[in-house]
């Protein structure tokens, strides 16, 4: 597409097209995670014995990952601020910090899952672990997709291109963060 359609430049609703689309994307994601977590909660209420299983998750590792993810969101905010000021290279630097946060999150998660699987807690062990791996896995996929997009946007932002995208990925990244804020107590703390 060499020429952008004029449709892409209009903003009759008073909000930039990209931001509007990200909000709708998040709306659709909320119901995906919402359906999964609602199922989990209903099951959990009916199965007291799950708390024995949940006792084997590592709250410490989960808490560390929560800290890492929240910090990375803070950098996404700083990146957005830099992008607003038109400072592409600075925004890119903060985005790389966010990227590092996401990557750390995934690395820690891999370590955590490996340990658990080696101790025999696999996705097929019982329904608690099925939910644990499915929900956290779906979230981890979002983190993975997020850091790939962050890398792409950071490369462009360094050249001062497409700076409005820094905000868009920021909104998405906060959403991924918020999902984790729900997952952490549900899967780790509730015992």
């Amino acid at each position: 597409m060499s020429a952008r359609p004029i449709a892409t430049t209009r903003s009759a609703a008073g909000m930039p097209t990209g931001r509007l689309a990200v909000w709708w994307l998040i709306a659709s994601e909320i119901v995906i995670f919402g359906g999964l977590l609602a199922s989990y909660i209903m099951f959990r209420l009916a199965h007291d014995m799950w708390s024995e299983q949940a006792a084997h998750t590592s709250t410490a590792i989960g808490a560390f990952n929560t800290f890492v993810l929240l910090t990375s969101s803070y950098f996404a905010v700083l990146g957005h601020k830099a992008a607003e000021e038109g400072d592409g290279p600075k925004a890119a630097r903060y985005l790389w910090y966010t990227f590092a946060g996401g990557a750390t999150f995934l690395a820690v998660k891999s370590y955590e899952w490996t340990t658990e699987i080696l101790h025999g807690y696999t996705i097929a062990s019982n329904t608690f672990w099925s939910f644990y791996y499915t929900a956290a896995g779906l979230h981890a996929l979002h983190v993975l997709a997020g850091i790939i997009i962050i890398a792409i946007i950071a490369v462009a932002a360094r050249r001062n291109e497409e700076l409005h995208r820094v905000e868009l990925i920021g909104i998405y990244w906060h959403f991924v963060d918020v999902v984790w804020i729900f997952l952490f107590p549900l899967l780790y703390i509730a015992k």
Binding site: M1, S2, I6
Partner: protein
């Protein structure tokens, strides 16, 4: 004043001419071409779904017969045929044709934009949809054949290969559905954002043509209802392939959970496909009654009300699944409530027709046919919504006939109404009216002859998903009714040849269509037929609502939206 294209924006034509076949027809980002891709893929899948119906109806009417073009239908093939007939007609015909094709074609043209806001996302959406269709078609050829556990894919039939006998088919089926959902989520975001942001200058919220509103509301409903089922599809795939037990009660799961996840989507889905068809009918009846749409805002609020209510009725599909009777009461009440706004919409349409100068063109016949048949579908739904009565009727042919009285008007009549109405715009030529009317009567009469007998069979207690009813002494006597329904089906299918002849003949040899053959108000009729790349040379500006027909004191009985006062 019309909006002029700023000098610094390159005009499309420069980038446009000398496109190769591939970039024009296959990898196009033009919304009109993507709409055509969706439409022709949908029609192709519709032929397959129709062929499946033919094969299993032949088996039901003449058990064990060698079906021409298919052969003897084995019991498991029968199950695969009914399963995939349902899935194809809903997910690969109704959805792509009504939402994706009409949405893609009409939204930019009707709101005065030159394309969707995300043209490349739009292309990706179609490509994923195409992959989903290919995955589904491929599932028919794997060992064990296509999935045979009914289109609602309830566990344990869907999760346990020993029950459905289609170990690979069931997984491919779930994958195909999930891909299809991903495609329509992308498309939906595109539709919603385009309609919100890219309207022509001057087009206020209440100046948007009803069909655009309907497609947008349908997209929102789809988006907000499909999530739990996407999560459910992932869980089901894990149950099938990774040994989890989300839906297996022996190991701590619950099959009813699937029914909740499925119908939380499944019921709003009815309105997802219904609303675009309702919108199409609104456009057509206003044009051919030469009257303003009665109570535009009421229709809109009605649609919003329906949308909200549609999230609260899903358990009426589960009255016999062992849910708490007190819950069943709640869902009975919501289900009966949701018929109120839709009945209102029907009355509004009839009020629009009242006193109009009606011309019975082919599209108008289809629109009126929609109202008449959908009414029967809606009224029979009330019987099923009442939990007490549903216990008797559940899973009988009454449900099946009710369902087809809603979906056939939506998917088939809605499509024919839309295609006969917008054909001149899409292909720049007029369709043959005489053939169109033959096709209309040849479809609508046999349709009723197929499904009214099935209501009777359902009331007699005929259960769905039975391979051969002659084995049931109390149902065997009804065999002549089954034969009658099947013969009506064959008659209806043969009349579809008239449509295809008319469609392709008119596409290449029909008389050239002017810009505005129906003298309609909405913006798509102000550009060439077919519209060029970029849709208008100068994008239009809007001055009034879409339904200003027969305004007093004006010479012509229509008043295009873009005409300055």
């Amino acid at each position: 004043m019309a909006q002029t294209i700023p000098a610094d924006v390159p005009v499309h034509d420069e980038a446009h001419h000398e496109e190769s076949f591939w970039s024009h027809y296959v990898f196009s980002t033009d919304h009109k071409m993507i709409a055509m891709q969706y439409m022709f893929t949908g029609i192709f899948m519709g032929l397959i779904g129709g062929f499946f119906a033919y094969a299993f109806r032949m088996q039901l009417a003449f058990p064990g017969v060698e079906v021409p073009l298919f052969g003897v239908v084995s019991p498991n093939e029968y199950n695969a045929l009914i399963t995939n007939h349902g899935a194809i007609m809903i997910f690969w015909v109704a959805m792509p044709v009504l939402i994706a094709a009409l949405g893609n074609y009409l939204i930019p043209l009707m709101i005065g934009a030159d394309d969707m806001v995300f043209p490349r996302l739009n292309r990706l959406s179609y490509q994923i949809f195409l992959v989903s269709a290919i995955v589904l078609l491929a599932s028919f050829f794997v060992p064990g054949g296509g999935f045979a556990g009914a289109w609602t894919f309830y566990p344990p039939l869907s999760s346990t290969a020993e029950y459905s006998l289609t170990p690979l088919g069931s997984s491919l089926f779930v994958v195909a559905i999930a891909l299809e959902f991903a495609a329509f989520l992308m498309g939906g975001i595109n539709f919603i954002v385009t309609a919100m942001n890219s309207r022509a200058p001057g087009m206020k919220l209440y100046d948007i043509p009803m069909v655009v509103w309907m497609i947008v509301v349908a997209s929102v409903l789809f988006m907000l209802s499909v999530g739990p089922l996407i999560a459910g599809a992932v869980m089901l795939l894990f149950d099938q392939n990774l040994g989890t037990a989300f839906f297996n009660p022996e190991r701590g799961g619950d099959p009813i959970l699937w029914q909740h996840l499925f119908w939380f989507f499944g019921h709003p889905e009815v309105y997802v496909v219904l609303l675009p068809a309702l919108g199409v009918v609104a456009e057509i009846i206003t044009v051919f009654a030469r009257k303003k749409l009665f109570a535009y805002r009421t229709v809109l609020y009605t649609v919003f009300g329906t949308g909200v209510l549609s999230f609260t009725v899903w358990a009426h599909h589960q009255f016999v699944a062992g849910i708490d009777p007190r819950m069943a009461h709640v869902f009975t009440v919501t289900t009966l409530l949701i018929s109120v706004p839709l009945a209102e919409a029907m009355f509004v349409y009839i009020a629009t027709l009242y006193g109009g100068s009606i011309s019975l063109t082919t599209p108008m016949l289809w629109a009126l046919g929609f109202i008449a048949t959908f009414l029967i579908g809606g009224v029979t739904g009330i019987f099923l919504g009442a939990s007490g009565e549903d216990i008797y009727l559940h899973d009988t042919y009454f449900v099946l006939a009710h369902f087809h009285y809603t979906f056939f008007p939506i998917a088939i009549i809605g499509f024919y109404a839309a295609i006969t109405f917008w054909f001149p715009k899409m292909f720049g030529r007029m369709m043959d009216e005489r053939l169109g009317k033959i096709h209309f009567w040849g479809t609508i009469i046999p349709f009723n002859f197929i499904f009214i007998p099935l209501f009777v069979l359902g009331l007699a207690g005929q259960h769905r998903r039975i391979y051969d009813f002659t084995n049931y002494p109390d149902l065997a006597a009804y065999q002549p009714i089954r034969v009658f329904a099947t013969i009506s089906l064959l008659v209806m299918f043969s009349f579809q040849l008239v449509f295809f002849y008319n469609f392709f003949k008119s596409m290449f040899r029909g008389p050239k269509a002017p810009k505005n053959p129906w003298q309609a108000n909405t913006l798509e009729w102000t550009t060439e037929s077919p519209p060029p790349h970029g849709n208008w040379k100068e994008l239009p500006t809007v001055h009034r609502g879409p339904y200003e027909y027969s305004v007093e004191g004006r010479e012509s009985d229509y008043w295009p939206q873009n005409e300055p006062a």
